[in-house]
Symmetry: C2
Subunit: 171 residues, 2 copies
Amino acid sequence: MHSGAVASRSADQKDSRESRNGGTQLDAVSLAIIEQLQEDGRRPYAAIGKAVGLSEAAVRQRVQKLLDQGVMQIVAVTDPLTVGFRRQAMVGVHVEGDVESVADALTAMSECEYVVMTAGSFDLMVEVVCEDDDHLLEVINRRIRAVPGVRSTESFVYLKLKKQTYMWGTR
Amino acid sequence: MHSGAVASRSADQKDSRESRNGGTQLDAVSLAIIEQLQEDGRRPYAAIGKAVGLSEAAVRQRVQKLLDQGVMQIVAVTDPLTVGFRRQAMVGVHVEGDVESVADALTAMSECEYVVMTAGSFDLMVEVVCEDDDHLLEVINRRIRAVPGVRSTESFVYLKLKKQTYMWGTR
DNA sequence: CCTCCTGATTGCGAAATCCGCAGCCTCTGG
DNA sequence: CCAGAGGCTGCGGATTTCGCAATCAGGAGG
C-alpha cells in the first residue's frame, strides 16, 4: 500500500473528495510532472519543465496545485526496519456494523500507517508499525480489537519487505 | 504498506542489506532529518539544519548519504485512484516450495507495487495496481497464479483508501 | 604524549533554483 | 464586444544548492 491516497497531514483521507473515481481529471502534462517527481522528489522545476515542455514557473504552479489539492505529496519514505521499528504487520479486520466508523477509529491510531476498506473476506486491511513484539501485541490485541464493531482480526507479521515502488506511471 | 523499504530504483529490495535488523544504525540527528523530510520532502537544507542543529552543508551530506545507502528515498506519492488506476487490491498468496523465488517473480511484475513475505496464513502479501477490472483479473488469474510455486491466492479489492502516512517518526 | 588518519562538520563564494509578480492569451459567459 | 477567470511566460531578486578547502573529533600506533 502506501502508494495510495495522500493523507492530508497526519490525519485521515479528509473529505472523501474523489475516492470515488479520480476526482479532478489530470491531464497528460500533470501526469508527466508527477512521473518526474516519482523518480526524484527534489528534481528542480526547470528540469521538469524541460522534460514536459513547460516553463519553470508553470511547473511550479502545477506542482503547488497538485500538492494543495492533495493529489500528491512529496515526502521521504523509509524502511521502518532501518529506523528502529522492529515489527510490522498487516492486519485483516472483520467488522460488524458500520465499517467506516471502525476505519476512522483505526485511522486515528498513530501505529496504523495504512488503512483501507476492502471487498473480500476482510472488511478492512490495516498496516501497523511497532517498535517491538510487546508493542505489536498491545496494538493488535488491546487497541484494535477494542474498537467497537471489530468482530475479529487476523495478523500477518512481516518477515521481509521485497518491493516497494511509486513508479506506476512509468509503464 | 508502502512505507516499507526503499526500492533502490524501479527494482526490488536489492541486497538484503539489513532486512534483518536495522543495518546501519542511525543516530538521533539523522532520525530528526528524516522526520523533517517526511513532513516535506522539498524542505531546504538550511531549514532542516536549523531544526536539527547542524549546518546546511552537514545536512546536505547526511541526506545524500541516506539516499545513497538506500535508507530513505524522496519521492512524490499519489493516490492511484486519482491518477487513472481504477482498481487496486491486496492479494494474499499461499506458496508451496521456495517463497523467496515466488516473491522475486512477483516483484518483477510492474503491476505489483508492494511485495512482502509474511508469517501467518499467507506466505506473501502483494498489492497490485491496475487500470480496470479486466486488467486486475488478468494480473491475478493469469500472471500471479501462473508463477511456479503459487498454490492459491485470495484477493481483497480496495473500496476506499482511508489513511496513508509516512510520519511514524513524529510520535 | 605526540602523530597520523579517517570521517564528519563548518564556512564560504559561485552557480543554480525558487519565488512573486506583471503581462499575455484563451476560453466563457453575459 | 466586454469583463473575468485560469493558465503560461519572462524576469529580477532573494534563497538555496553545490563544491571545496579548512577545521575538529576520535581512535590506532609508536
